[in-house]
């Protein structure tokens, strides 16, 4: 049976919104624990933007689903296997180098994706994308500056960031994984064709990494897949048990 456009869009929006939610949660873990006070503030700010995007996108997802679920219901009352975020964002926060490696890989793609989604025929989605694009431009700037500072800083910072880039690289294919649902939405002109994203992303990233005196990770490395179909790493369940504890414990309460 063919998937209806609304159902396809629901699925697509979960991928988009869950990415924002889960990474927002990981970044929030830095609050009060950053390497310097300015960075506590910057990472909290980025986290806050991501939660804002997640809320808007998941509310729209709920509307598309038509079952009366809003962003909170979707965030707090789904199991790990129902989350559609990519594997990259659910990985533990690691050290600051890992956070920065993940931020540059994720934010650069997010910026390019939002830019495309401003052209969506769904006006709500196009509107969210317009605002998110501006914010994610700042996220790219923030991460890029740290890639340069750590890559071209001390021998220690260079080694740490290189190692972190190599670590996150196996999740990059999952970040761009695409399927029949995206194809259907593109065919129906609901979202633009996203096939060109990866190439643009790779070019921009390569340029930055070279400038930071780092090297690109091994392109032949084995790639982990599964996030978009709910096949997650074990980290997600633990994160959700923390995120969801109150509404799950008191399902009748309003907060």
């Amino acid at each position: 049976m063919a998937t209806s456009n609304n159902a396809a869009l629901f699925d697509f929006l979960l991928r988009l919104g869950d990415d924002q939610l889960v990474l927002g949660q990981r970044l929030a873990e830095w609050c009060g624990h950053g390497p310097i006070l300015e960075e506590d503030i910057a990472l909290a700010n980025i986290s806050l933007d991501l939660f804002g995007h997640a809320q808007a996108v998941l509310n729209l997802a709920g509307e598309m689903e038509g079952q009366g679920r809003d962003a909170d219901k979707l965030a707090y009352f789904r199991e790990a296997i129902e989350f559609k975020n990519c594997l990259l964002v659910e990985q533990p926060r690691g050290d600051f180098a890992y956070t920065i490696a993940r931020q540059i890989v994720f934010s650069l793609r997010a910026y390019l994706l939002w830019d495309e989604l401003t052209k969506s025929s769904n006006e709500t989605l196009a509107g969210i994308a317009g605002k998110a694009k501006k914010e994610s431009r700042y996220h790219v700037t923030h991460a890029s500056e740290w890639v340069l500072r750590l890559g071209d800083g001390t021998a220690d910072s260079h080694a740490r960031l290189q190692n972190a880039l190599d670590e996150v690289w196996r999740f990059t294919k999952d970040l761009f994984a695409t399927d029949a649902i995206e194809q259907q939405l593109a065919d129906q002109k609901i979202i633009p064709n996203l096939g060109g994203l990866y190439g643009k992303w790779l070019t921009m990233l390569q340029e930055l990494i070279t400038k930071a005196t780092l090297r690109m990770p091994d392109p032949g490395m084995f790639m982990q897949l599964g996030g978009r179909t709910g096949k997650h790493t074990e980290h997600l369940g633990h994160m959700l048990s923390e995120l969801q504890i109150l509404p799950r414990s008191y399902p009748d309460a309003r907060w």
């Binding site: 949660q25 390497p35 939660f51 909170d72 707090y76 008191y250 907060w255």
Partner: protein
């Protein structure tokens, strides 16, 4: 002009209600007191991020999560302003932080209590930020320019913090029996420590004399505490919370709420490092600082490398 004449002139300026700036002459004793007081204040903002940061990942809705995150982020911003203000007196932020980690500098003892329930986010916002506003509103009129200006800006944000805290509690008090019980438990634990935030009673406050003489403190600890009590008790009653003080009563003649005795032994215990979370708070700050050392070194190395490259290119 000799020091006695300078001091006389300074005293006269203060008496005329003038504001003084970092480059102006000031008594050395006052400079030391200001550094101590402002750095304690900055440390309090930063350590104060921890008990609330403890609940960001567990906030019960996306809206609450964003409000709390924005609030804790504000506290970090306040820390930055005040560190910058105190740096204008000729000290460096790094040295002040080292003193904090070495246990030589103090911070507000309230942050040595644990946040155990979500309703604690309500109690902290309403009581702790509420008490801070009472303190800081008078500091906004103090005689030292950088401090007064920082306080004006900070107070605006603190008002929003207090409001969100009260809203958390009023929503919970209108909720299920379990929620009401949690809200009451939070008030039971945070009420007395928030009264202690104003510091010891006037007769036991050794630093107050100089600070009042030169217009930094404009009201005594006990006056500010009373103002806070008078404001807060009716707010508690309005949403059905009980103040955990059997001696609490309203004096119709004075128009003030009178409280039972404050447990100053507990206060001095917490100040001296024996509160429930003193060790954890400093350990968390120290851990973040130590783990971040390589990052700060990288930023410095990058800046040096690139400024010399730019000089060569020029």
């Amino acid at each position: 002009m000799d020091d006695a004449a300078k001091l006389k002139e300074f005293d006269d300026r203060i008496a005329r209600g003038e504001i003084f700036e970092p480059k102006d002459w000031m008594p050395e004793r006052l400079r030391k007191q200001l550094i101590r007081m402002m750095s304690q204040h900055a440390h309090s903002e930063v350590v104060g991020m921890l008990p609330e940061g403890n609940w960001i990942t567990r906030a019960p809705s996306l809206r609450r999560k964003m409000i709390l995150l924005a609030k804790v982020q504000d506290e970090g911003g306040h820390g930055l302003y005040i560190y910058s203000g105190v740096e204008s007196l000729g000290v460096r932020r790094e040295d002040l932080i080292d003193e904090l980690h070495a246990g030589k500098a103090k911070y507000s003892s309230i942050f040595n209590y644990p946040s155990l329930l979500w309703s604690d986010m309500g109690a902290i916002g309403w009581l702790v930020d509420g008490a801070a506003i009472v303190n800081q509103t008078t500091l906004a009129k103090c005689s030292f320019g950088p401090y007064a200006r920082a306080m004006i800006r900070i107070c605006k944000e603190e008002n929003f913090h207090k409001k969100q805290g009260y809203e958390i509690l009023s929503t919970m008090m209108a909720g299920t029996p379990a929620q009401r019980a949690m809200a009451q438990d939070s008030i039971n634990r945070w009420w007395w420590p928030s009264l202690m935030m104003f510091g010891p009673t006037d007769k036991d406050s050794p630093n107050s004399i100089d600070l009042m003489r030169w217009g930094i403190k404009r009201k005594s600890n006990d006056d500010l505490r009373q103002r806070f009590i008078d404001m807060t008790v009716p707010q508690a009653h309005a949403i059905g919370l009980t103040i955990p003080d059997p001696a609490l009563k309203f004096n119709k003649e004075t128009g003030h709420w009178e409280i039972g005795p404050i447990n100053w032994e507990e206060f001095f215990n917490v100040i001296n490092g024996n509160g429930p979370c003193n060790k954890e708070r400093i350990a968390a700050r120290k851990h973040a600082h130590d783990e971040g050392k390589w990052v700060r070194e990288a930023a410095v190395a990058y800046a040096q490398k690139h400024s010399s490259l730019e000089r060569r290119a020029a």
